[in-house]
Amino acid sequence: MTVPNPPMPRADGPASADRSSPGHHEAKVTAATAPYVTRPTRWTRFTRTFVPWQLWRFARINVKMIRIIRSSRT
């Protein structure tokens, strides 16, 4: 099941940056402040190189890409 991400903050929201320079804009969204920015856990990093799991993912990703290719045929 796919869970949609929370809505992103608008880029034109209230500024909290150094306002001394007219053209300066501070980034509103950072990895530390945005709850939807995921960081890989130690387990996730482990699975990225765990061969048995990656063999399964190899098959799954291939199937996904074949579906994309089939649905894109002209």
Partner: protein, 174 residues
């Protein structure tokens, strides 16, 4: 080169999948087509943003690799049919109706390399069909891992086989 797209200037809210070209035929010169990176996109594919230091970020559509191959096939078939007497292009390949797959890999070793694998469908967001994000989330994903690296190695050998036109080459997708 300008083709059969809708190049009228319009705000992001009025961008539509129908703005994107389908036949890639020049409206000024009907015997000229522009496939792949040769055609001029009507606009970006996502809402343009501005970086903190003022640089405009306007996501351009990917027109190399898989999309250009599909567009090229459609254009080639249309040209062949027009040479045979068809009055207009007979095949279409809109980027609003096709997906794309991409693998960016690093490293050469089978077990120490890694890659980011991603697919997107459709390439041009269609908020009519997919109101929330403009894309089919079942067919739009990204993943980091060794599996993508293996896929890249597999694709490398498959594409070289296809380029050499060995037996069965036409069965290998672009």
């Amino acid at each position: 080169m300008r083709v059969d797209a809708d190049y009228a200037a319009k705000p992001f809210e009025r961008w539509a999948p129908g703005d994107w070209p389908r036949t890639y035929q020049s409206p000024a010169y009907p015997n000229i087509f522009a496939a792949g990176i040769a055609f001029a996109p009507p606009h970006a594919i996502s809402l343009p943003h501005t970086s903190p230091n003022g640089t405009v970020i306007a996501p351009a559509p990917p027109r190399t690799g898989m999309p250009s191959a599909e567009i090229g096939k459609a254009v080639a078939r249309s040209i062949a049919d027009m040479i045979g007497g068809a009055p207009r292009p007979t095949h279409t390949a809109s980027m609003a109706e096709m997906g794309a797959a991409c693998v960016a890999s690093a490293g050469a070793h089978l077990f120490t390399g890694t890659a980011a694998s991603m697919t997107v469908y459709p390439i041009v967001p269609d908020f009519g069909r997919y109101p929330l994000y403009g894309r089919d989330l079942d067919r739009t994903f990204g993943e980091i891992g060794l599996a993508g690296h293996w896929i890249k190695i597999l694709l490398h050998h498959m594409f070289l086989y296809k380029a050499r036109m060995h037996p069965g080459w036409a069965l290998i997708p672009e």
